[in-house]
């Protein structure tokens, strides 16, 4: 009885564990497939006509600044970029109320830094936001090498006006932008992505605690700064 009981418990435990591990492997494999790429025309339509200066999207004299701390490999950042970002751009950036600063951080490893360097280099051509939006849409498994030079070159062909070869060459010379973004993140105490800070342009930026990745989570903060 004793041995049989222990064997039965061990057998059931092994079966449950095998099921969980199998499901985890299947789930992880499914997640590692790149997200369906957004069309470059979609990114272009979201950003069309909005000024881009380096890592800043929107009018330089917009009364409110929103800083987005993000890692290009972070799935939540991709969710935010694909869902909330277009709404924030439509309702706040396009009318000139808010400008968004992309403070990219490389929390998740070498692919994050490679993508970040390319994005900042694309920013020298006024195409950082097109680049990040497209990279999020094609996000692959963490540090799987999905952000290769070839992928970045190919990306260049889908973003009108972006010279990908030049961006790749310049990606090793964007240390200052990387350090500035890192400094902003450190000062804001950022420990996870996406995180946000907001405040009057050229004024004090205050971290924004968001309860969800919905655009509505940021609206009260932006509205209060715009009203104040």
């Amino acid at each position: 009885m004793t041995r049989r009981a222990y064997l039965a418990v061990a057998g059931v435990a092994a079966l449950i564990a095998a099921g969980l591990i199998g499901a985890s492997l299947v789930s992880a494999k499914a997640d590692s497939k790149p997200a369906s790429p957004h069309s470059s025309t979609e990114a272009a339509s979201i950003l069309a006509g909005i000024p881009q200066h380096g890592n800043v999207l929107g009018r330089q004299n917009a009364p409110v600044t929103l800083v987005e701390f993000a890692d290009l490999q972070c799935p939540y950042c991709a969710t935010w970029s694909n869902t909330a970002f277009p709404q924030i751009v439509r309702d706040y950036v396009r009318p000139g109320k808010v400008r968004i600063v992309f403070a990219g951080v490389a929390f998740l490893g070498p692919d994050s830094e490679r993508g970040l360097r390319f994005a900042f280099a694309a920013g020298n051509q006024g195409k950082l936001w097109d680049t990040t939006h497209m990279l999020y849409a094609q996000q692959g498994a963490e540090n799987s090498g999905w952000l290769s030079d070839n992928v970045l070159r190919e990306l260049g062909t889908t973003i009108p006006g972006l010279d990908a070869e030049r961006a790749l060459r310049e990606s090793s010379t964007v240390d200052r932008q990387l350090a500035e973004a890192r400094g902003l993140a450190d000062r804001a105490g950022v420990r996870g992505t996406p995180s946000f800070a907001a405040g009057p342009t050229n004024g004090k930026l205050v971290p924004v605690a968001v309860s969800s990745l919905d655009a509505n989570a940021l609206r009260p903060t932006l509205d209060s700064y715009l009203a104040g």
């Binding site: 009981a5 591990i21 789930s27 799935p75 939540y76 490893g109």
Partner: protein, 142 residues
């Protein structure tokens, strides 16, 4: 250790584990930052292994700890065996997740490690409780 103490140990450990898993579940749904000394918690929580077929692993952990906690309130053999099997499965799955953290994700979450330790102790307590149950049953039905 007598059965009453073992019951208490199972309940206490399951409560601690539920606390850890509950905290991770909360941070996942609230998108808040995780208090983390190892620096790898966000990486692990954002990885593709943090969900199992769309269900957060932390939520599964919370459900499992709550289930084992429930078994502590019953003295029959089925409850003892179910508690032990669940805790043992948790130990094996926790070991798999630890290997994933070290080898695949290359980051370690302190809360996951804490949960692993609680699970190990919980499995031992549940197995001891099962042993007591088997002995009592054997004595009652010689």
């Amino acid at each position: 250790m007598n059965d009453r103490r073992l019951k208490f140990a199972v309940a206490a450990l399951a409560l601690i584990g539920a606390g850890v898993a509950g905290y991770l579940t909360y941070t996942r749904f609230a998108h808040t930052l995780i208090i983390c000394a190892t620096g790898g918690c966000e990486t692990v929580q954002n990885s593709r292994y943090a969900e199992l077929l769309g269900i957060p692993v932390a939520l599964l952990g919370l459900a499992s700890y709550t289930f084992v906690l429930g078994t502590a309130f019953f003295d029959n053999m089925l409850a003892r065996a179910a508690g032990a099997a669940t805790a043992l499965a948790g130990v094996i799955f926790g070991l798999y997740l630890l290997i994933v953290q070290l080898v695949v994700i290359d980051a370690v979450c302190q809360w996951c490690l804490a949960s692993d330790l609680v699970l190990d102790a919980l499995a031992v307590a549940c197995l001891l409780r099962l042993r007591v149950g088997i002995r009592v049953q054997a004595a009652a039905n010689p």
